[in-house]
């Protein structure tokens, strides 16, 4: 007999049992006020946090409704601590409101005396707030983001009633032949909510290859305002520009603001790198692009890569519509919360396995091939320092033989060989003769090689970590990872993402690891994020 699908722990972790008939309905009910933590094959984990509750309250779901939904699907009676937390936290929303006052300033109204005193006593906030009367503070408009961030850290959510401002209107529509997928429509809907204050900024999390760019363009079509798109590298800047040209009716020019060109148009695409360029005086001269560009909408592509200086300026841009896009909101520095606070909360997230099941991303098989270290290197390895040990294991020359075997096995498939160490990549090039793209390859050459790959003139590319992110190679179905950046979970997931565009065949992701070595330990950590998404690595030993 089917049981209720939710198992609610007292620490507010919610486990969703996928083997129950009603699991889909339960998921729909809890998604607005929980965060998806991980989604392996049997049980998905969600978490209720103060932030997730406040986001739900701001979009019209009150605490009692959240409890009703949990009760509807909970297998067991809910611990009082959970219901108390929901009631307590949700009741705080609305105690603090941020509203318009005169032109330059905003007013923070505090309805409860104890919160007023708490705020007044905060050293961090006293720099940004001026006491107005016994229940309000005045703040400079540019401090809006930072004040909100500090208050959230103190457990005091702000009902921000200051409307977002649209920039100069532009006439942007998508091609009529283009039909978005349901989850893309849902993602955009979640982003805009009911259009009231408190919506129109946030992060959408979708797997690699599932069409995040399209989601960005759909939001742009709805806003029709002057827009700045920030991307991780020049190649992805060019991809955005191509996508906009191919999928929309945009007749105007698209500005490219990178190290190579400095054009500013109504739609401009730039890189994080140029924005965070710091001159000898310690200034960021290109910040003015963001600050003074008259933008109504900023899209942060691969928002998990948002560099620290951009955090700062993003805090000043709270009056703009802001959309963060990512597949892996995992930061090795643990600053996910700051991304949520400044760009906006997570508005939409969907398990990778769901989209794979529905054919929106390719079915991918992950393999770990384990090989021994050559005996001749064992002494060198054993006596080396930790970092050096990793490099010796990662650049194990036996990996080249495995690459050969895998290419033979997948003959005819378009593939990438990706690695961390340039010497190692050059050896692969020497052995197999495929073209190579690294950090020193000119952007024009990169674009040309990627284009040849897309056309099928080149079947295999050797790439360094420059191809980790945002490179769209629709037909690639084979990826061989010969080395990586230590234990980076995000890099592993992003690399898999290069072969997830749906196609008529399954994709294969191989990672070659030297057994009994530092590399093996790191590999396990790298695989964590994907394991949590339900991918499992088959293990194969080669001598």
């Amino acid at each position: 007999m089917s049981e209720k699908p939710l198992l609610i722990q007292s620490d507010r972790t919610i486990l969703l049992d996928l083997h129950q008939e009603s699991s889909d309905k339960a998921r729909e009910d809890i998604v607005p006020f929980t965060e998806l933590i991980k989604s392996p094959e049997h049980v998905h984990t969600y978490q209720i946090s103060a932030l997730s509750i406040w986001n739900a309250v701001s979009s019209g779901i009150d605490g009692e409704e959240m409890i009703r939904r949990l009760e509807r699907w909970s297998r067991y009676e809910i611990d009082e601590r959970v219901t108390f937390f929901i009631r307590d936290i949700s009741s705080r929303y609305g105690d603090l409101t941020l509203e318009e006052t005169d032109g330059e300033n905003l007013i923070l109204k505090v309805s409860k005396k104890k919160f007023f005193l708490e705020i007044k006593a905060s050293k961090m906030l006293s720099k940004m707030l001026v006491e107005n009367d016994s229940s309000s503070f005045i703040l400079d408009r540019k401090n809006r983001g930072n004040v909100k961030l500090q208050l959230i850290k103190m457990g005091l959510p702000v009902d921000d009633r200051v409307r977002l401002e649209k920039g100069k209107p532009i006439d942007f529509t998508l091609n009529s032949s283009f039909s978005p997928r349901n989850y893309q429509i849902d993602a955009v809907k979640s982003f805009f909510g009911d259009g009231r204050p408190g919506t129109g900024f946030g992060v959408i999390v979708l797997p690699c290859g599932s069409g995040k760019t399209v989601v960005g363009m759909m939001a742009l079509e709805k806003l029709k305002t002057r827009t700045l798109i920030l991307a991780p590298n020049v190649t992805s800047v060019h991809q955005w520009m191509n996508e906009i040209r191919n999928k929309s009716n945009w007749k105007g020019e698209i500005g490219e603001y990178t190290g190579e060109k400095k054009e500013i148009k109504d739609i401009t695409v730039s890189t994080y790198q140029i924005l965070t360029y710091c001159n000898d005086e310690g200034e960021y001269p290109h910040f003015s692009l963001l600050r003074d560009g008259g933008w109504g909408f900023v899209i942060y592509d691969e928002v998990h890569m948002l560099p620290a200086p951009v955090f700062r300026i993003t805090a000043e841009l709270q009056s703009m519509y802001r959309l963060g896009l990512t597949a892996t909101l995992v930061r090795e520095d643990g600053k996910e919360d700051e991304v949520f606070s400044l760009v906006g909360p997570k508005r939409f997230d969907t398990p990778w396995s769901e989209l794979e099941k529905r054919g929106f991303i390719a079915k991918a098989w992950c393999h770990e091939i384990r090989i021994p270290l050559p005996e001749s290197l064992e002494i060198e390895y054993a006596t080396a320092g930790k970092k050096e040990k990793y490099k010796i294991a990662a650049t194990n020359e036996k990996k080249l033989d495995v690459v050969g075997k895998l290419l033979k096995k997948h003959e005819g498939e378009k593939g990438l060989i990706i690695g961390q160490y340039l010497d190692q990549l050059k050896k692969v090039k020497e052995k197999f003769g495929f073209p190579i793209i690294t950090g020193s390859t000119k952007n024009s050459v990169r674009d040309e090689l990627y284009e040849k790959f897309r056309r099928g003139d080149v079947k295999t590319l050797i790439v360094s970590k420059v191809a980790n992110y945002a490179i769209d190679l629709p037909d690639a179905s084979l990826l061989i990872q010969i080395s990586g950046t230590f234990g980076s979970r995000q890099e592993e997931a992003q690399r898999l993402g290069r072969i997830l565009r749906p196609k008529d065949r399954d994709s294969h992701f191989y990672t070659i690891v030297t057994e009994y070595s530092e590399e093996e330990t790191y590999a396990l950590n790298r695989q964590k994020f994907l394991s949590e998404q339900g991918y499992s690595y088959t293990l194969e030993k080669l001598s």
């Binding site: 198992l7 609610i8 722990q9 007292s10 620490d11 972790t13 486990l15 991980k38 392996p40 094959e41 049997h42 049980v43 297998r75 067991y76 009676e77 809910i78 611990d79 009082e80 601590r81 770990e368 384990r370 005996e375 064992e378 002494i379 054993a382 006596t383 057994e515 009994y516 330990t521 396990l524 964590k528 394991s531 949590e532 339900g534 991918y535 499992s536 690595y537 088959t538 293990l539 030993k541």
Partner: protein
């Protein structure tokens, strides 16, 4: 109940002033259901308490019940529900009178509690060598997160006390300042969690006392939604039933057998793991209900709650292999079919790695493969090799084991197997016996008549009728002395009506409808067709569902 009534009742029920015991038994057994249902809350509780007590000594009972005890007990005795079986020892005359509730709270909210995993978590951590004596591990956030439902201020203290108990019975040993498995570790790990807890709380009880303590623990685990102000009484009940002095709830809170839910207390669930466990590709094992001991031994605890979460790591597997288990033990525990192949392949590969390096506590070091090739090249290892005993065989310095281990781990990897040998496996440990959990009657037999709490009715319909007819003197309430049913229990009403019709010569019946109207008459005036939900009484048709209260009164009372 006054003497006059008892006398009249005896005469009416049994046609004599002093009925024989057989006659009383027959009467009670014929009317058992009605009698139990007619009991007030306090009577139900006392009757259950006596029924559940192992040796219901009247003196002990009266001592514990306090000043009100005498009156309560004589009330039950007067109704022949309790009698002295032999001198000073009480016996409940009804066969089905025991009910756990209201003895242990309201009984509501079953399934709210987290499961009892405290002992297993402790064993799992010891096995992984994670606990240092005097270290700060227990106050670390990682440890406290494992027990989200336990009180954070109690936990570090109770964990330390638990380890000292376990050390005293040879379940753990101190090696240097690190707790490691002792001679009794494996045996203890497979005890029932309550028995484990019993040893942790009271390490040195004899077998009889252990059984009583276990009984007390079982009863504490059965507490459900008990209001804080009622806990003193509940603990008194537990002492009386188990025979183990259990007045203080602190110990049970310390070790997580009892949950403080704010305004009420509930015992920790001892739920069997009915759905087995789920093992996913993220190496997490989810157990809904009590965790199987083996799982706790080859994985690390992440959280214990309604669902306990454990994580398998290379380190946790190595420490499991240290106990003498192998890769196939892990895979078969998890269930061959349900383990993702990636996971089983990696478990096998770890075991292969583990087996490639095999130190022994006698400090006879045996190496193979890569370890053998590298060992002698480790800088400084020569200072610790006493003798080379052949290819890959070394006799090592015993006293400086920790020093050469550090050298080896720098070269061959951070995780090395623990040293095995006589000290580890045959260290003298006191005998600990696997005591079976004692039976408790109310747990084993499902109660035929569900407990329905009754409070004294504000209306004294029967009493006033009896007063009017001269049977009752003064303002006594005897409404509940007769078989009756309340309006919410439809089946019971039907049964009483059927009984009234069958035994129409013996009884009168009092029907009170939901508008407060009473109808009293001999059962001759009652017509009830089988299966019909209407009765004809005193020439009127009454819908059974509208009956608020129904009482059967022996004719002679009227």
């Amino acid at each position: 109940m006054n003497e006059e009534i008892i006398e009249k009742r005896n005469w009416i029920y049994f046609s004599k002033k002093q009925p024989t015991e057989d006659e009383v038994c027959a009467f009670l057994s014929r009317n058992e259901e009605e009698i139990i249902r007619s009991l007030e809350k306090d009577d139900q509780e006392l009757l259950s308490l006596i029924a559940l007590m192992e040796n219901p000594e009247k003196k002990t009972l009266l001592q514990k019940l306090g000043k009100d005890g005498e009156r309560r007990l004589s009330k039950l005795e007067a109704r022949c529900l309790v009698k002295e079986e032999r001198v000073g020892i009480l016996k409940v005359a009804l066969t089905d009178a025991s009910s756990l509730y209201p003895l242990f709270g309201s009984g509501d909210g079953d399934g709210r509690s987290a499961v009892l995993d405290f002992p297993l978590v402790l064993l799992s951590l010891v096995k992984s060598g994670k606990i240092k004596k005097g270290g700060k591990f227990f106050s670390s956030s990682a440890y406290l997160q494992i027990f989200p439902t336990l009180e954070k201020t109690r936990l570090p203290y109770s964990s330390e006390r638990a380890l000292s108990s376990l050390e005293s019975i040879g379940v753990v040993n101190l090696e240097g300042n690190v707790y490691v498995p002792g001679g009794n570790f494996k045996k203890f790990a497979f005890f029932h969690p309550l028995l484990q807890l019993s040893y942790i709380m009271k390490p040195s009880l004899d077998e009889k006392e252990r059984e009583r303590h276990l009984k007390a623990l079982i009863l504490v685990s059965l507490i459900k939604n008990a209001p804080a102000e009622g806990m003193k009484k509940i603990m008194r009940n537990i002492t009386l039933i188990s025979g183990f002095e259990s007045s203080d709830i602190k110990d049970y809170l310390d070790y997580g057998l009892l949950d403080d839910e704010g305004t009420s207390f509930s015992g920790r669930a001892l739920k069997e793991n009915k759905n087995g466990f789920t093992i996913s590709s993220d190496w997490r094992v989810l157990s809904e209900g009590m965790t199987e001991s083996a799982v706790a031994l080859f994985s690390n605890p992440i959280a214990t709650d309604r669902v306990s979460i454990w994580e398998i790591t290379k380190e946790s597997l190595f420490s499991y292999f240290d106990l003498g288990y192998g890769d196939e033990d892990v895979i078969s525990t998890l269930g061959k079919e349900s383990v993702p192949s990636a996971l089983s392949e990696r478990i096998r590969s770890y075991y292969e790695e583990y087996s490639s390096f095999s130190p022994t506590r006698v400090l006879y070091l045996k190496l193979s493969g890569r370890a053998e090739r590298l060992f002698e090249r480790i800088e400084g290892i020569g200072n610790y090799i006493i003798e080379k005993a052949g290819d890959g065989r070394y006799i090592m310095d015993e006293e400086r084991e920790s020093e050469w281990r550090e050298l080896v781990s720098k070269t061959l990897g951070d995780v090395l197997p623990r040293t095995k040998g006589p000290l580890f496996s045959t260290s003298t440990a006191p005998f600990i016996s696997n005591v079976e959990l004692p039976g408790i009657k109310a747990l084993e037999d499902f109660r035929k008549y569900p407990y329905t709490p009754r409070s004294v009715s504000g209306k004294k319909v029967v009493s006033s009728l009896l007063s009017a007819s001269g049977f009752l003197v003064g303002e006594k309430n005897v409404d509940d002395a007769f078989p009756s049913a309340d309006g919410f229990d439809y089946q019971m009403k039907m049964r009483i009506l059927e009984k009234a019709e069958k035994e129409r010569d013996e009884y009168a019946i009092l029907i009170e409808d939901w508008n407060g109207r009473n109808a009293l008459g001999l059962c001759d005036m009652l017509i009830k067709k089988e299966g019909d939900d209407k009765v004809i009484f005193l020439h009127k048709s009454i819908d059974v569902s509208t009956i608020y209260k129904l009482t059967l009164i022996p004719r002679a009372f009227l």
